[in-house]
């Protein structure tokens, strides 16, 4: 025993505040007593107030202990939960006065605890969700566990309950290997020790002085009893999961704990709660099995789908691990058992980090509220707190990063553990992806879930705030709108906003989606303006709708079916121009009015492999539209093309796919400026886009859309008849809305730019020159002239 030791820098016991928390015995004792008192009180409360209003009991057990505190501390500080666990704390005293028998061999089996956790708890959880969620259920569960624990503590020595029976004992033992703390001893002091106070003080009959050499803390629960017995005990910061980076004594059950817990929590949850809430839930194998078996077996109140999701999760997970490792073992030419259990430790981070993400997210969304209000209830006052986060907060998604950390971490551990094997390098490289099969499986479930949601969408009955969205999508405006009919003189054009909602719809423009992103959809509303200049939408579309897509194929388009403003939507899977045509033919006053509305939109998803094909990207018209406006492409256009003020816009009027001379084209901007031109021989009219945007400088938006409408008209004397109604001339109209941005000259300054750079160069250059010329640099007072 030593009374003083010079502690290393990374020793937590030597740190100012945190050291107090882990070292001060009075503090630890009071903490343990407080936690035990809380535990007992919560149990009592659960029996006393069985109603739903008792949020206190559930807050203690399901809000704090599991899973928030446990999963956040395990991969960080290690098993500190066990250190303050009321069972362990009280068990220590029970054992002291107990019979101290040796536990029978059959009970000294760590699988008992793991199986209890997997089947006794999670299996039951999936079959009867919500069974233990009530205050009473919770209280009964934990009272029973406590009684069992106390009996075993009383009978057997060395806290055997914690080691073998406790459902979370093996779980915490296994996952604490990821932590960045390590309880050990100072070797220099222990070499001369013959009294072993640390071992005597340990209620678990462990030998802390052997931890470092064995590279294992075995069953240490960080109760810190040893640290009060001898100063040579250290509690150090290490690299996270460092013990997994070197050889260690393999405990098979730990690898199984990693796999089974991953299966029963992460994978089952993905199946049942993730994919289960998509529209594809019914076609999944577990739903089908449950559906099929329901014909033969009466499941009663059991949630059959949950049960089978759980069973399939177990089967898939275990087979992924076994098959992958089997192949890896063959490649490595190693015994399967050694390979499996040696490398299986790399599975450790998969579950626990995902679980942290989930726990923290839950905590911010509702856990905090639950805990705060539950405690208030438990101690007899009322409190109403708001959750710390809203489901729509985008920062909540940050926790999603942890999943990736888990995968990378697992791969790193696997890499380090493969490295330890005594096998030729090439075999290691080949075997690595197979050994990582479970990690890949875990990753692919994740991606698959994302895929399912993208393809099939979320089922409307799920939780997760779907309800709110449903209400939003009901067109509430439908009732209030008075629809007007367009008169013959009114020109129809497409608007990308719903005139009744004046709310911007998603137009896919800014989705920087790469492969596999959702397909962009464009929704357009044919509108006309009344005398007041107000946009009016149509309640019905009688005209023909055509879509010319990026691959230059023409197809019919259809209008939306819902009541209210009619719109036209089309998908834009490829990069390129999409043209929507609205062609209406009407005879009025002996005139055939051919009204065309055209909308041209370039879809570009910023993908790396996009090729700007000039042929495809050129302006095209379709035969179905008799009269059309084409924006003539400039020579150097790319996917990044935009119109800017000050530029020339060249448009071409086309009649029956031929350029037409003498058509009138009018460009009118939103602000009311307009200009009319006649097309020349090539059918082209050239407009200068005027600068028409003068906000205050600090409100300036360089992406400001100066909207304008092109309107071309042409009258052709031609007699004919449609449906026995004759006409004497044809009046062609076509509209083409677009917009341009302010010219970069408005907000970019070369003069200032150059002067900023030059200023820096001159000032810094001068400063360096002066510095060199005048200052005597210490140690370099002597400098030499560079000359021959």
């Amino acid at each position: 025993m030593v009374n003083f030791i010079k502690r290393d820098k990374n020793d937590i016991y030597a740190k100012p505040i945190i050291g107090f928390f882990f070292k001060n015995q009075n503090f630890l004792l009071s903490l343990k007593i407080a936690v035990s008192a809380l535990f007992v009180y919560a149990l009592y409360f659960g029996f006393a107030h069985t109603l739903k209003e008792n949020t206190f009991t559930t807050a203690v057990f399901w809000g704090i202990f599991w899973s928030l505190f446990m999963v956040t501390t395990l991969p960080t500080f290690g098993r500190i939960f066990c250190g303050i666990c009321p069972h362990g704390f009280m068990g220590k005293y029970i054992t002291k006065y107990g019979l101290k028998k040796t536990m029978p061999k059959w009970m000294q089996n760590r699988y008992i605890g793991v199986m209890l956790l997997v089947f006794g708890w999670w299996g039951v959880y999936y079959m009867f969700p919500g069974l233990f969620r009530t205050p009473q259920g919770t209280a009964i569960l934990f009272t029973v566990m406590t009684l069992i624990a106390f009996v075993i503590y009383f009978l057997y020595k060395d806290m055997s309950y914690c080691k073998y029976i406790c459902p979370i004992g093996t779980f915490t033992r296994a996952y604490s290997k990821l932590s960045f703390t390590w309880l050990g001893t100072y070797k220099s002091a222990c070499d001369e020790c013959r009294t072993f106070e640390c071992a005597t003080a340990c209620p678990y009959n462990l030998k802390p002085f052997t931890f470092d050499n064995r590279n294992s803390m075995t069953d240490c629960t960080l109760c810190m009893d040893c640290s009060s017995a001898c100063e040579a005990v250290s509690f150090k910061f290490k690299k996270p999961s460092f013990s997994l980076f070197s050889k260690l004594q393999v405990l098979k059950v730990e690898v199984w704990a990693f796999i089974l817990i991953l299966a029963s929590i992460s994978v089952s949850m993905s199946f049942h709660h993730g994919i289960g809430r998509s529209n594809a839930a019914d076609i999944m194998i577990w739903s089908k099995t449950a559906e099929f078996l329901k014909n033969y077996i009466d499941f009663g109140s059991i949630d059959a789908v949950g049960l089978f999701a759980f069973i399939y999760a177990l089967i898939f997970t275990i087979s992924a691990a076994l098959i992958g490792m089997f192949i890896a073992a063959k490649i490595l030419k190693k015994d399967f058992n050694t390979t499996f259990y040696d490398l299986g430790y790399s599975y450790a981070p998969l579950f626990i980090l995902g679980s942290i993400a989930h726990s923290l997210e839950t905590f911010f969304l509702k856990g905090y509220e639950h805990i705060a209000e539950g405690f208030a209830y438990g101690f007899g006052f009322t409190l109403d707190v708001a959750p710390l986060a809203n489901r729509n907060d985008s920062w909540l998604h940050l926790f999603g990063l942890l999943k990736w950390v888990a995968i990378v971490w697992a791969l790193i551990i696997l890499y380090k553990r493969v490295k330890l094997l005594n096998v030729p390098k090439l075999r290691k490289i080949v075997a690595f992806p197979f050994a990582a099969s479970l990690i890949i499986f875990f990753l692919s479930i994740d991606i698959y879930t994302g895929y399912i949601f993208k393809t099939y969408g979320k089922a409307s009955s799920g939780n997760h705030g779907v309800g709110e969205k449903l209400f939003q999508s009901v067109p509430a405006e439908a009732a209030t709108i008075v629809f007007k009919e367009p008169a013959a003189k009114d020109s129809i054009y497409f608007s990308d906003t719903n005139p009744s909602a004046e709310k911007k719809a998603y137009n896919g423009e800014h989705s920087h989606g790469g492969a596999g992103d959702r397909v962009a959809v464009k929704e357009l509303w044919p509108v006309f303006e009344d005398a007041m200049g107000k946009k009016n939408c149509l309640s019905a579309i009688s005209a023909e709708l055509y879509l010319l897509d990026a691959n230059l194929s023409t197809m019919q388009a259809t209008a939306s079916k819902s009541a209210g403003c009619k719109s036209v939507s089309f998908k834009m899977p490829d990069n390129g121009y999409y043209n929507l045509f609205y062609v209406d033919k009407k005879i009025q006053d002996n005139t055939l009015h051919v009204k065309t509305a055209k909308y041209e939109f370039m879809r570009f998803n910023h993908s790396n492999d996009a090729v700007y094909n000039k042929e495809k990207m050129a302006a095209h018209t379709i035969a179905e539209a008799p009269f059309d406006i084409l924006r003539v492409r400039e020579e150097d256009e790319t996917f990044y093309h935009n119109l800017y003020s000050g530029e020339n816009l060249r448009v071409q009027a086309v009649l029956n796919t031929k350029p037409i001379e003498g058509a009138t084209i009018t460009l009118s901007t939103k602000t009311g400026w307009s200009k009319s031109l006649k097309t020349d021989k090539e059918g082209v009219a050239t407009f200068a886009l005027i600068e028409d945007y003068f906000p205050k400088w600090n409100e300036f938006n360089k992406r400001y859309k100066n909207e304008f409408l092109l309107h071309a008209s042409y009258v052709k004397e031609e007699k004919g008849s449609v449906n026995d109604v004759t006409y004497e001339k044809i009046k062609y109209d076509v509209t083409y809305p677009s917009y341009y941005h302010p010219n970069s000259a408005r907000y970019r300054s070369y003069a200032y730019g150059l002067s900023a750079a030059l200023f820096t160069i001159i000032v810094t250059g001068f400063a360096i020159y002066m510095h060199r010329a005048r200052r005597k640099i210490p140690f370099k007072e002597v400098s030499f002239h560079e000359k021959d």
């Binding site: 140690f779 370099k780 030499f784």
Partner: protein, 421 residues
């Protein structure tokens, strides 16, 4: 009737020194088989300088240096000649004894002795004394009292820290400036570059010779190498380069022809410790007379003087001076430094590289730092499984018998070891 001339003390001293030198040269020339032909230049040179006291540099400013830390490149660039004043004469050692405590290093005593008797064939115009070991640093002051111009050059006793590097760079910069003023010559980029390249070429030649010694058929004995490197102390660098070029070529031919100066079974020795300086080649001669061969050494009169080379990125004076400074501090394995792991690594590397069978460590009685470092080097060698013999000697010829016995026993044990392998 012959005229009887009364010998002046100076003449007597010179006679003693000449006798001492001649005896050693005789041994070197005749007790071994087949010295390379090109060695004749060096035998002759040592005879001229040490027996006949011929002046070599009467046309140039002569800068005496007390230690290898004085940058010779800079001295050459200033059109002067560096003369290393470390002395190996027992005759001078005895004179020096009057000025220093009895338990002082014989090398320092011999150097002081030479100054005391003011008996130089090439008398230095200025003496540069870097503050390396205590004895040398203090002897600078003693020499100054004898009426010589002495320039103290501050030298750090640690070399790991950045501060020591900057400190030494400052020392060298100052030294350069002061020496240039003292000699009234301007330093120019071209001259400095030429000097660096010339010294670099000399080093390159030394390395070339050394690499040949790695061969199992050693073309040249250690005692000859010591003569060659000793000659660099005082010879005209151009002559030295020419002679070593010839020597290297001859040795190369010998390696090709498989001519060896030692038998195949001769144990190969790495020599380390206090520097053997002509004519104090006692230990190397004893070793090689006992049928061992010195294949490499780690001493400041030979390897350490040549090993580290200057490299310059941009050939500016400022850069070159700093680079030169670094070469004299950073690579140095002198035991005066506080920590000296580098020296152990170096010896081990030499053992490995030159395929040596053992190490012989000589420390001058009175050279505290070598004596103090002895234990740690011995431990390091034992750990590496390299046999090592530690010898403590001085310049006096008295303990020869005992030394012979120890060295012969060591060489014999190495031979046995080699045979067993």
């Amino acid at each position: 009737m012959t005229e009887h001339k009364i010998e002046t003390p100076k003449e007597r001293q010179n006679r003693h020194k000449a006798m001492e030198a001649a005896a050693v040269l005789e041994k070197i020339k005749h007790d071994f088989k087949e010295p390379p032909k090109a060695m004749d230049y060096f035998y002759d040179l040592h005879e001229r300088v040490h027996c006949k006291h011929e002046a070599l540099h009467s046309d140039k400013a002569k800068v005496g240096t007390m230690c290898i830390q004085v940058p010779s490149e800079i001295i050459y660039a200033l059109d002067a000649v560096p003369l290393r004043l470390c002395n190996g004469f027992y005759a001078d050692d005895e004179i020096g004894s009057d000025f220093l405590p009895s338990k002082s290093c014989p090398l320092v005593k011999a150097t002081i002795g030479q100054f005391a008797s003011n008996n130089f064939s090439d008398k230095p115009d200025i003496v540069i004394s870097p503050t390396t070991c205590d004895q040398k640093a203090k002897s600078g002051a003693i020499i100054e009292n004898m009426g010589f111009e002495v320039y103290d050059m501050e030298f750090p006793r640690t070399k790991e820290s950045h501060e020591s590097r900057e400190y030494w760079r400052r020392s060298v910069r100052k030294f350069t400036k002061d020496l240039s003023e003292n000699l009234n010559t301007k330093l120019s980029k071209k001259k400095l570059k030429d000097a660096i390249k010339k010294v670099g070429y000399a080093q390159h030649l030394y390395h070339k010779l050394n690499i040949l010694r790695k061969d199992n058929n050693s073309p040249i004995l250690g005692k000859d190498m010591f003569l060659v490197t000793n000659a660099f102390f005082f010879d005209k660098i151009d002559n030295w380069i020419e002679a070593v070029e010839a020597l290297a070529n001859e040795c190369e031919q010998r390696v090709k022809d498989e001519i060896s100066v030692a038998s195949k079974r001769s144990p190969r020795i790495v020599y380390t410790g206090s520097p053997p300086i002509f004519p104090n080649l006692k230990i190397p001669l004893l070793i090689e007379l006992s049928d061992a061969i010195i294949v490499a050494d780690e001493t400041c009169s030979s390897n350490r003087m040549f090993n580290d080379m200057v490299s310059v990125d941009e050939w500016f004076v400022n850069d070159m001076v700093d680079s030169i400074a670094d070469r004299y501090l950073k690579g140095c394995t002198c035991p005066i430094f506080t920590k000296n792991e580098d020296r152990k690594r170096r010896i081990l590397d030499l053992v490995r590289d030159y395929n040596a069978d053992g190490v012989i460590y000589q420390a001058f009685a009175g050279c505290q730092v070598y004596e103090m470092e002895q234990r740690s080097v011995l431990e390091a060698m034992e750990r590496a499984g390299v046999p090592i013999l530690y010898l403590e000697t001085d310049y006096s010829p008295s303990h020869l018998g005992q030394l012979t016995t120890r060295i012969e026993a060591f060489v014999e044990s190495l031979k046995n070891r080699k045979r067993r392998q």
